[in-house]
């Protein structure tokens, strides 16, 4: 059975599936290029009769309400990047400790962290708001990303991965006299680029796409709003949406996330176990 034929077959399957995934997205972009006259027509055509970028220029200049959308984009990027870096650092350290080191009450801690993943967020949502109010953080950038640093997902994910790594490299470094910290950042981290990149993308997206918490975190300050929650205000009509404007804004909101994903792709390669431990 020729591998070329096999590849062709796989590509065929992937293409069919790909159509299912990408067509709705293309349709979303198509609508965003439609003028008002066309957008409200419920036809399913993919090519606008009269394509226009007015929805984009309108959105980027602030729209009817003159919103500071560029500032929002900046805010979103800032807090998402900051939050992601902190989450990566903090989670990797904790995961390594729990996976490899003699942390007291390891099992209890892990169970505690895991169980909080399972409590629906609505329970601590309002208390969290009150806490941030009391700390005087509402209206600051810190309010936007700090809640995400407490999520146990990254710890759990990295814990499972670190557990699965072969121990030989670490043991070799230990014999060479390296201490825990050195083993962590010189041996473990570089071998974890792939999973760290994935976690980075998912965390970035989580912070960037969250649109509920920023309402509370911004404390009503227009310029401190993030992109996705700002968009919710612009498009969540009293009862109706403006589909073309909604799609244009959504496309704008999706682009940064995609860029981050594409950038991270380079690191998502075959991991440490491929690097020849014989």
């Amino acid at each position: 059975m020729g591998t070329k034929a096999k590849q062709a077959g796989l590509i065929l399957i992937a293409t069919v599936l790909g159509i299912f995934f990408i067509v709705p997205v293309i349709w979303m972009v198509t609508i965003s290029l439609k003028s008002d006259a066309e957008a409200f027509l419920p036809n399913l055509s993919f090519i606008p009769d009269d394509p226009t970028i007015v929805n984009y220029t309108d959105a980027l200049s602030g729209g009817d309400l003159n919103v500071p959308i560029l500032r929002w984009i900046y805010n979103s990027l800032l807090v998402s990047v900051a939050g992601t870096l902190i989450v990566l650092a903090v989670d990797a350290l904790a995961a390594y400790g729990l996976a490899r080191l003699d942390v007291p009450f390891k099992k209890w801690l892990l169970s505690l962290f895991l169980s909080t993943l399972m409590i629906p967020g609505i329970i601590w949502f309002v208390p969290q708001y009150v806490l941030f109010q009391d700390l005087g953080l509402i209206g600051t950038y810190h309010a936007f990303y700090l809640p995400f640093t407490s999520s146990a997902f990254g710890v759990f994910l990295l814990y499972q991965f670190f557990r699965g790594f072969p121990k030989e490299l670490e043991e070799a470094a230990h014999i060479d006299g390296a201490n825990k910290w050195k083993i962590f950042y010189a041996v473990l981290l570089p071998s974890s680029k792939s999973i760290l990149s994935t976690l980075a993308v998912l965390t970035f997206m989580g912070i960037f796409n969250d649109y509920i918490w920023p309402f509370y975190a911004s404390g009503g300050n227009d310029t401190m709003q993030t992109l996705t929650s700002g968009i919710a205000v612009m498009t969540q009509g009293s009862y109706v949406n403006s589909p073309n404007k909604l799609m244009a804004l959504s496309t704008i909101a999706t682009i940064p996330v995609l860029v981050v994903f594409l950038l991270a792709q380079k690191a998502i390669v075959r991991g440490i176990t491929q690097s020849g431990i014989k």
Partner: protein
């Protein structure tokens, strides 16, 4: 040697930063939330301590909150059962597919399968409502052309079991990227040598999959499984935006009722109790499934 106080202290330092974030930003509000569930709190400033009354009410047949809880639970459980197996299997399948493509197209397809995950709930709902609408939806129009179900359009959002199919399909489209990425990372960690050795031994593709791949990705599968169960128990956007919990209350899920009790009935304490019970159920289910699949794991 391990076990010395000094060693344990330095080890603890690794966990400390996360532990601090956890305690301040999660544990403390969570405890407040638990206390909230022991109150009669209208979320508008009035509250009184009532102990376990909310929990008792949930288990007392005939009360509003009892019906809200168990109806919501039933809707959620159905969604979990219908969606989780697909979400895990399809995620794995896509990861296997992507990884077996040649290097040039691999990245393209990986991106294509992932993009929907970046899209907001409102847009997702707009898209799929256009697809599944009874009379003007894309799917039924296609079926019309093929003369299937021409007389009476399928009510994708108005009839059981079609409504579950519509919800699961749209959920897969929207969220499978997450599972796929985790599985891809897991697959990447499987040593190439194992496959080569197996091929030399004459193992075919199926054997390689079941004997090498699956056992080797146990760790990431555990993560995917837990996260998927959590996500499905927490489902809200899809039924809320697309089916409004219908037909009737068929797809009314727990979180919809929790919000209704909290903000419609203005009973924040009762809503909190409902959510906590949901969390406990999630823990039991996750632990049970985990033990079932990973019996030998520590």
């Amino acid at each position: 040697m391990k076990g010395s106080l000094r060693s344990r202290l330095t080890s603890s330092l690794f966990v400390l930063p996360y532990f601090l974030c956890f305690c301040v930003f999660l544990l403390y509000p969570l405890i407040s939330g638990i206390i909230l569930s022991l109150q009669n709190n209208d979320m508008l400033g009035t509250h009184e301590f009532v102990g376990l009354q909310n929990y008792v009410d949930i288990f007392t047949p005939g009360t509003y909150i009892h019906d809200a809880f168990f109806r919501g639970l039933w809707g959620t459980v159905k969604f979990v059962v219908y969606s989780v197996p697909f979400l895990i299997l399809v995620g794995l399948a896509l990861a296997l597919l992507v990884n077996s493509l040649n290097a040039r197209v691999r990245g393209v397809f990986r991106t294509i399968f992932f993009i929907p995950y970046a899209i907001s709930a409102t847009v997702m709902a707009t898209i799929w409502m256009r697809v599944f609408d009874t009379d003007s939806g894309f799917l039924n129009l296609m079926l019309d052309k093929l003369h299937i179900h021409h007389q009476q359009h399928i009510g994708w959002f108005t009839d059981t079991p079609w409504v579950w199919i519509a919800l699961v399909v749209s959920t897969i489209w929207w969220t499978i990227g997450f599972n796929m990425m985790l599985f891809i990372n897991g697959l990447n960690e499987v040593p190439e040598e194992l496959y080569e050795a197996a091929k030399l031994d004459g193992a075919n593709a199926w054997n390689r999959l079941t004997r090498i791949t699956l056992p080797s990705i146990k760790n990431v599968t555990a993560v995917v499984m837990v996260m998927t169960i959590i996500a499905s128990f927490n489902v809200f956007a899809q039924p809320n935006l697309m089916t409004r919990g219908g037909p009737g209350f068929e797809t009314t899920v727990m979180l919809m009722n929790v919000f209704d009790v909290a903000y419609g009935q203005h009973q924040g304490g009762a809503a909190s109790a409902m959510a906590i019970l949901l969390g406990l159920i999630m823990m039991i289910v996750s632990a049970a499934v985990y033990r079932l699949l990973f019996r030998k794991e520590a």
